[in-house]
Amino acid sequence: MWFRPILLGWLVLLPWGSAAAGPGEWSGYAGLELRLFQHPAALPRQSGAPELSLELQPEYYREWNQGHDSFSFVPYLRLDDRDARRSHGDIRELTWLHAARDWELRLGIRKVFWGVLESAHLVDIINQTDLVEDPDEEDKLGQPMLNLAWIRPSGTWDLFLMPLFRERSFPGPAGRLRTRLPVDSRGARYESAAGRHHLDVALRWFGSRGPLDLGLAAFHGTSREPRLLPGGSPRQPVLVPFYDLIDQVSVDAQLTLEDWLLKLEALGRAGQGRRFARAGAGFEYSFVGIGGSALDLGVIGEYLFDSRGENATTPFQHDLMTGLRLSFNDAQSTEILAGITFDRDSRERFYNLEADHRLGDRWKLRLEARLFSGFDPASPFAGLRADDYLQLELAAYF
């Protein structure tokens, strides 16, 4: 229970902050999620039955000192009927924020996003991926940190000190959407002798000039992306996550030219095997008000590159992603995002569909469909071959 000292600290600090505070407010959502798999399970111990999950994410927020200080607390809980590893809780946020004229201090557990691309988030490195949530890697675990932002007219400098590492979550043996051999997270190993207590440091500069938004970053610390090494016993082989100490520099940029968004993310990383580079570049073109309607159509094209080639830790190394984003701009905020990712060197394909629709003022319906095709049976990601799925989620917001 790594978060216990932080939590206790907060319980002491909270009343102090509350004395001059306005009333705090609770909000959040509760959702029911159903996953239907198209094919029977391909791996032992998996089940072909539909997977049902319950999600709860309340949110507490309170501010004082005319909004210059604020406190937020966002716990998260998922209960899953198939995969014990997918049933989990997390503290997504437990932060005190102080905003001054030229600087902002954030202390606690938080989520930070860096990047501009849609098909992959290459430079986004602060938070660990909560992989059991969704194979798209967009869900993140809360990261304990001290973050000091120095805000200059020319741009913002952000310093992050992260004293505690969060291990990536992986589906358990009974879960779908996993590697062929299950990952044994409990056996995780670290390059640093300090293990997960290594102090990770990141520095970022971000600024805007006319149509250009530019971010530059450097990171030294524990890689969020583990290497998966063979482990376990010959009778019960597993994969064991190994977290290297890495140095990474990155750039992310977007040029916004009316109809066109031009995007770039690139990074260089050392310390995880041989030095390597990953990059992605792409565009989004918007057709606004199609045929005189309120409908907007965005056409997305992105290309991803990994200098490690076939040894990369992701299934897609030289990929092309094309997608369409349809915004209905209606009262229900209906949106559809559809995309196909092609691997140029193999026949691997990944089809993705996401749709959102609000029902009334409090309910939201979300549909996701993901199809994997052409995966080589020998590939470490072959486990995904049978895992095409359709997901329906109904959430109530309060």
């Binding site: 909004g67 006319g210 009316e258 008000g289 917001y397």
Partner: protein
Amino acid sequence: MKKWLLLLLPGILWVPEFLATAAPAATPAEIRGLEIAREADRRDSGWGDLQADMMMILRNRQGQTSTRYLRIRTLEVKGDGDKSLIVFDRPRDVKGTAFLSFTHATRPDDQWLYLPALKRVKRISSRNKSGPFMGSEFAYEDLSSQEVEKYHYRYLRDEPVAGHDCFVIERTPAYRHSGYTRQLVWLDKRLYQPRRIDYYDRKRSLLKTLTFRGYHVYLDRYWRADEMDMENHQSGKRTLLQWKHYRFRTGLSARDFDRNSLKRAH
């Protein structure tokens, strides 16, 4: 800082996407129209900053309604368009979503959207000016700051609206991606604020009518309406915008309109 940034990006130069072409020989009606627009702008400048709460009631053809709650902060910028930050409170699934825009008189606006679920700030295309704001009958361009340079003007006639004497001015958007070919503005002669605006779509037919109600004066000088009622004649839909708690000169600065402020918006 600026210098090395330019070195990094030698190929990128900002080219204005459109040129605000001033009409060469103005007719008396155009001169009069521009004079009135300038006077309205002069009377409504110097307010500094503004904060207000908004309630948006969307009504469809069948009479079903859905309500949005928003908070808005605006900073007056001399010599350019205003900066504004809009925070969404309801519907609850978009709570905490924030929209930051730097409007510009003669070039595309800069716009950023903050998505709280992903903690992601997205710079978005400014091409959507003509698109609906939050599914309402208001387009982004209807709500953004009304700089004099955004239109060409022509004075048409005098005509009262609900007993208030008004100038009727035709204004033609200078922005080539505007959703409108022209607008007719009934400008109150006493307040120099609009009482009614008719919007004509790209096919030049009447699309919407906006009616302003309940003008109150703030800081003895600045008139603001409590209600803006937008009726779409083509779809039969309607959006009522109710403004509450107008607060002027609250001490906001550019710092309250940067990317970090987007993430802090709550």
